[in-house]
Amino acid sequence: MRFILECVALWGLALFLGLLTAWLHPHAPQLREPLDPLAITSESIAALSESYLLVDARERSAYQAGHPPGAVLLNESEWNELLGVFLLEHYEPSTTYIVYCDGGGCDASKSVAKRLRDELPGTEAFYLKGGIEKLEGFNNE
């Protein structure tokens, strides 16, 4: 009985100190990470009222191996070569662009979304949080 009480006391002490640290720490991590304004989730895509286009920011080989229907290739490795086709065949000022790459640590989609916004002012471009895995079973057509 005494053993259990001592364990509970230790657990309570640890919990108290932990909560105190979380409350007072100047750089305490947020429990829920705020969504980057440049990011979009797969749930939010379905709610978009305006038309959108999926942009594949992966390397050409990955795109050719398989991509969601309607997705257009635009990556930074071949930006100069691909930009012309993108602008002349697919770009519309009123369209929203959802850029994706491989999930996890991939940063290509963020770079492409940012570059589209920088080079074409007024363009609504977002990168998809979680990457291509979040698009499985998703039909863009």
Partner: protein, 216 residues
């Protein structure tokens, strides 16, 4: 009292359990480079040493971008043995500040080690915006884009060639800004659904200076 000490020792053991994993010590975990104009790639070398008491096996090196290729001489490193991981970053058409990450996955350590590579790639020129779009294509209004050169030497535009005769395009140097031109495009007829690529040639020669034109 005995119980409290036992529990505290147990907690300490759990907290420091990660030290029991085999690990590699990197001299630098982050490297920064400034690329020269015209440079195509950066090779970053991260030297390391096995500081543990067991052999370490590098299972794989994952990178955050297909543009960065990891190179490793071998996978197993004995205690005290040194090695290096090479990251080859191919710029492609990238410009500006680039941050790339590599994750070194060890066979008996669940937490991958992280290596960071930062490269600043200079920009030779910028066409802003790269697309001129006529929302009312039946109105032949003139539209402009800015071409700015960032290289030190003087650049002369030798030719502006529009591949569609529906537009006339010319380059006008700005009187108040050196190295800056206005690319002025004028539709010569109704440009509904029309598209054009404008090729700009310079001396010295710079690749891929293009402007794109479109009518709705």
């Amino acid at each position: 009292m005995k119980t409290i000490i036992t529990v505290l020792l147990l907690v300490l053991a759990i907290c420091h359990a990660h030290l029991a994993y085999a690990t590699l010590h990197f001299e630098e975990e982050q490297l920064s480079f400034k690329a020269e104009m015209g440079q195509k790639e950066t090779i970053a070398i991260f030297p390391f040493k096995n500081v543990g008491e067991e052999a370490v096996t590098i299972k794989e090196v994952k990178t955050s971008c297909g543009c960065t290729t990891p190179q490793l001489d071998k996978k197993v490193y004995e205690p005290g043995e040194s090695g290096e991981i090479k990251l080859v970053f191919d710029y492609g058409s990238r410009t500006g500040m680039q941050n790339k990450t590599a994750y070194v996955v060890l066979s008996d350590n669940p937490k991958p080690l992280m290596l960071k590579l930062t490269v600043e790639i200079p920009v030779a020129f910028k066409v802003s915006p790269p697309l001129l779009y006529w929302s009312n294509p039946d109105e032949p209004v003139e539209m402009k884009s800015e071409l700015k050169f960032f290289i030190k030497e003087d650049v002369e535009i030798t030719e502006v060639k529009c591949l569609n005769p529906a537009w006339e395009v010319r380059a006008e140097p700005r009187a108040d800004e050196e190295g800056v031109y206005d690319l002025v495009a004028t539709p010569l007829k109704d440009v509904s659904s029309a598209r054009a690529t404008v090729l700009i040639t310079t001396e010295p020669e710079l690749d891929n200076i293009r402007l794109y034109l479109r009518g709705r």
